[in-house]
Subunit: 731 residues, 2 copies
């Protein structure tokens, strides 16, 4: 489609020293100007600002509702204003639980009281701020006071409960203890409650997040025995944002749910603990030895229980309404002020949050500073650029979600794309998002240099893929959830991206008191070189989206990606069928029982329901037709169109992602409207592509699967009509 | 071939209640008698004997040269005699090193002296025999007194050194510390010495052999923090047996090598230690964090070094000639006294050896007792049966090797097959050996009942294979080394088997002071039911080989197996080629360097030599021709042959395995003569099939690979001529 005949800016006098570079969306005469603009932008970026700003913003704990969080917001607003942005703070009143009681005791066989406190470490004064540090807890755990036998459930995800079933172990009426990781944390209490457990403990096992990974803080970057990962356990796959105002903004006067009816607060109390606190509990378990893959890095034999370890868990929270301050800074576009490009990063942390979120926030600010400076010097972007600094991301993407819910109609009308960042560090470029933007992002990744090697961030990333056996091409991953892009792409249907660097910044500081400036400087991005690289990449993306003659959306790679997702689902159904056939054949031969050790716990498996053949043809036919239309559109020479036609095309094209959403949403979670991407209902952050069809199959709901195939086919038909409309606009 | 039209003993009056059962090698009229004989044999087996004999034999430590070892030999000889066997003790004078000095110290940064002693445990008085217990050491370590920086080398196998090379770490002049497992232990000091290390420490990591596997002794079966695995580190892949008399018997007056020239003694001192002793050493290492897959189960961050940990290792041994007593018990055959069937198991242990070797030894004895009893009652086998109880297996298969070297000519003339057993426990039937015997073993496995489930041991084993995704058919594994079948099959060219039960008997007692009667009774085979099953299976195999009208050798499955090995090698060469091509492509793109973390140790890889295409056609053509001859032989109705012809056939057939050996042996290790099976030169016990060709390719010695293809082709041509000879004998 758009200007896809690669426009090369050959090395000529007019290009200066800029090397040959294709830019999707720009007419040949505009390419040199854009490249010059981007070069000036890059030259203006300063790592010193990042360093100073991190020290400022991460000086004190600043979770939502704190005084320091508010100060940060006001300070940022002041900065944006000073850089020429029309800036305001938009505040919502959200429910935020602060812990008032946190007690965990091993009652028997050997009494132990969990410390629930990470220790200050030498060389990092931030960790010694004592009472000022947020106690470790899981936000949106319900209150509770429970005592029961303990059961170790590995990561506490669906396949772990299948394993427990094979062993004949039931968690009903028990308290489960699960390792962090294996899924987003909120899945653990959700599933545990569904299975009848009355309490849930989550701990960081040293194998995943401690001395097994590397030297622990302060000697190294990894989690010491006292570190605890905080985090939200709100049922975000149902809906994120304020738990009391689902689907609408938590304004002062909004009608709110009764807290006891809020469906995204957990059903059972849940508490995160350190591996120091977990060891006595796990050590006290008997019962079957845990399967090989369940065993962690503690120097014990991992048993499952239930019991004889009995634990008492008591939790209470203050459940207050708290103000969440979003900073919104706008730079009006010179030519298309009603077409917006938005960049965002959250500013709230769990504790100091040097890495999460400050490392991303300061890169965004430096980007905004230089963009503002260039505008002042006369290089104002054609489209309006909006920078957002979100509050209350940590407890559940609340600041961004309330804002998007508040401004939904306007955003759908005006917003071309949303580009998100979050914690950032040394390593490789990673990008996920709407696949219509893949070509544009690849082009930017091809021009931004990796600070350590001097090659492009695209080349370095591909080198890594190749070395680990992956493909030699650049692609966007699909987005599930986990940061503030969620309401934009999943709810409002705005083309979105989430980008950042990482892979050489491993550590155990995430959501602990150790995510501090000293830790960041030693282990994450010592020179802020990757902070600058992030500002550079994100800034170029923003500037291209803001200045493109025709919006750089591309449909051919998009189609190939979506077709791959469908193939993956169809292959998956076939492989489920084969697995069931194999299972049933083994059942009929009594092979499971014969292979089982008669001295060990074992529940004889029964035959499973056969996997039916589904009719995928509706969606296959729709995709085939869509492919033809995309081919037609791509054959059009968009560069020869009049400005008026380009403008009309842009206006229509901006709606593309909305075509892929459905106001009815996904089954049982209407907030999630996107038909191509969603966080997994039982995986949390992890994406499920073509989620309606995929999850129905995974849940073996065949009727719904067939309905969703039909619905997805309809989505692709709408997309085909949309492409036809774009074609007509060129005529 | 032989009588392969399945003779079914239908349920008739003449068969009694014996169900339909094919038996290869028996004419229809002889099947019922054989089945009745086997039924009587099975009925005569008594678990009480096993229990009593284990208590007797494992009452005290009995390594080679001990008084108790000699007493055991004499006691066994007395038993065999009492059961009607012509019994003698054949003694060889072998070199056996007993440790006189064992010192291991961490010199810096923090002094630590290794305890090198396992603790006695409650409920197991055998572990409290103090001085009587053999100190933990590795037999055939050289003497040494070395001090150097320590380097952690994972398992110390070839691919670990490749990884070290990538990190730029050299072990030259260092002392290495390696985990047990990943290879046979003797490979570790051998490779370390080849790489320039001056000492080697081997320890049991709790991940492979400690609390990660399960509860530790005495609470559970697994290795507690003080347990140490003893074991030989003699370079057995070069030749096993007495180090001073390679290829000939260590008789009193044999000419012996000078000890300093003995090539199978290690080049550097090596000592095994517990994980309690290993932890301070590993904890004191710095340098790169070990790769993910190297990290074990200790509660530390595993670093590689070198240093700053510096260790001092001092070892000395007494290097005395010691008598090894083999017990040889013979029951003369009624019809073919000069055709022998031999059963063997070793009787020496490292300490008490309740499991290894006594559990196998007592099953052999019970088998011999009942066979002797049946003979006394008039059911003497047609062929001669020889039972062997080997001494000095633990230090290097010495008793059996010397005996085979002593009697090589006679064995090659008379011995039809050798059936080996060793430690045995609860679980699944496992069998390895000459693939000419696969059909016969499968038939026996189809009639022996599993004690726990009541189905046949074949059905239960196949159930287990199916559940773990394996094939639904029974097959023999190929034999490398690791027990006393080695000299029979690898050196003398005698068809051999190694059988036993296991898989539900896991523990950490192997070669420690914890391999005791109480441990065995609790965790291995509490009722000796699998001891009886072993006696039953081995006894039936012996009785079928002893009484068959035509020896139950089968060539069609043999050919299919060998052809599979060739295919595996050819596929392996192709996959090596693709790997090198991929590697070189990544090198040319500089991908490794771009993907590497510039802050971590990294040596830039260089392009590798391309893998040439080899000419496999000679061996393919020979195998094709051989296949035709086997088809011809199989089409012959052997059951209609005269007794004289059957006898001539048997005499010729007995030589089959010798056709597959070559007196020149394998390159650089002439003791190993078999052309189909050998222990790996760099894996130890693990088998390499078609070893001449396979190892030349693995070592990238292309000239030798082509020569070995030609040699292997010649072997198959000889086999073809042999089959033609068998065909002619039927005319």
């Amino acid at each position: 489609m758009l200007l896809r005949t690669l426009f090369l800016c050959l090395i000529t006098i007019s290009c200066g020293n800029l090397y040959a570079q294709p830019i999707t969306g720009f007419t040949p005469e505009n390419i040199p100007n854009q490249l010059k603009l981007e070069a000036s932008f890059e030259a203006g970026l300063s790592a010193e600002n990042l360093d100073a700003w991190m020290q400022k913003m991460a000086a004190e704990p600043h979770w939502v509702g704190t005084e320091y969080g508010r100060e940060n917001a006001e300070w940022m607003a002041k900065q944006f204003k000073s850089w020429g942005y029309d800036t305001k703070i938009e505040t919502y009143d959200i429910l935020f639980p602060y812990p008032t009681i946190r007690e965990l005791k091993l009652v028997s066989p050997v009494p132990y009281e969990a410390r629930l406190t990470a220790v200050p470490v030498e060389g990092d004064p931030y960790t010694a701020q004592g009472e000022a540090l947020l106690p470790s807890y899981n936000a949106f755990s319900t209150d509770g006071d429970v005592e029961a036998e303990l059961v170790f459930v590995n990561y506490g995800i669906p396949k772990d409960y299948e394993e427990l079933e094979k062993l004949g172990i039931d968690v009903k009426g028990k308290i489960v203890i699960a390792k962090y990781y294996g899924s987003w944390r909120g899945i653990k209490p959700k599933l545990a409650a569904e299975k009848g457990a009355i309490g849930c403990i989550i701990y960081s096992d040293p194998e995943d997040d401690g001395y097994v990974r590397g030297d622990v803080y302060p000697e190294g970057a990894f989690k010491n025995k006292t570190g605890v990962q905080r985090g939200s356990v709100m049922d975000m796959p149902l809906y994120p944002g304020d738990v009391l105002t689902p689907g609408y903004a938590a304004t002062k006067d909004a009608k709110r749910l009764d807290r006891n009816e809020a469906p995204t607060i957990t059903k059972i109390p849940v508490l995160p603990i350190s591996y120091e606190d977990a060891q006595p509990l796990l050590e006290a378990l008997k019962g079957p030895v845990a399967p090989d893959s369940w065993r962690g890095g503690l120097p014990i034999t991992y048993h499952i229980g239930p019991g004889p370890a009995t634990v008492h868990l008591k939790l209470a929270f203050d459940w207050k309404l708290t103000p969440a301050h979003n900073v919104i800074a706008t730079l009006k576009g010179s030519k298309y002020p009603n077409q917006w490009v938005m960049r965002g990063n959250h500013h709230d942390a769990w504790v100091h949050g040097a890495n999460d979120p400050v490392s991303g926030m300061i890169a965004l600010m430096e980007e905004a500073r230089v963009v503002g400076e260039l505008a002042r010097k006369g290089q104002r972007p054609k489209r309006t650029i909006v920078y957002g600094a979100w509050d209350a991301e940590e407890p559940g993407l609340i600041g961004s979600t309330e804002w998007v819910e508040d401004h939904e109609k306007e955003l759908q009308e005006k917003l071309v794309a949303y580009i998100n960042t979050d914690g950032n560090g040394r390593g490789f470029f990673g990008a996920g998002g709407s696949h219509t933007l893949q070509t544009m992002v690849a082009e930017v990744a091809d021009i931004v240099k990796d600070p350590q090697t001097g090659v492009s961030i695209k080349e370095r990333r591909i080198a890594r893929q190749l070395v680990s056996g992956g493909p030699g091409t650049f692609s966007l991953s699909a987005l599930g959830s986990g940061s503030d892009y969620t309401p934009f792409i999943q709810h409002a249907g705005i083309a979105s991206l989430n980008i950042g660097f990482g892979g050489e910044n491993a550590g155990g500081e995430y959501h602990t008191i150790y995510d501090t400036y000293p830790h960041y400087k030693r282990f994450k991005d010592p020179e802020f070189a990757y902070g600058i690289a992030l500002a550079n990449a994100a800034g170029r993306i923003v500037l291209r989206l803001a200045n493109a003659d025709v919006l750089p959306f591309e449909f051919s790679q998009w189609h190939a990606t979506v077709a791959d997702y469908l193939k993956e689902i169809m292959d998956g159904a076939d492989s489920m069928r084969k697995d069931v056939e194999k299972h049933n054949s083994l059942v009929s031969k009594n092979a499971f029982e014969l292979a089982a050790d008669p001295r060990k716990a074992f529940v004889k498996p029964t035959a499973r329901e056969a996997i039916p053949y589904l009719d995928f043809s509706p969606v296959q036919n729709s995709l085939a037709k869509l492919s033809n239309s995309i081919d037609t559109f791509e054959a059009i020479s968009l560069e020869t169109l009049s400005s008026a036609k380009q403008e009309a095309l842009n206006k229509a094209m901006q709606k593309t992602e909305q075509v892929l959403t459905d106001v009815g949403g996904l089954p049982r979670r209407s907030w999630f409207r996107h038909q191509l991407y969603a966080p997994g209902f039982y995986t949390g952050y992890g994406v499920k592509t073509l989620p309606g069809v995929r999850e129905a199959i995974e849940q073996k709901n065949w009727e719904e699967a067939q309905e969703q195939i039909s619905k997805l086919s309809g989505t692709f038909d709408l997309m085909e009509a949309h492409i036809q409309k774009l074609i007509n606009l060129t005529k």
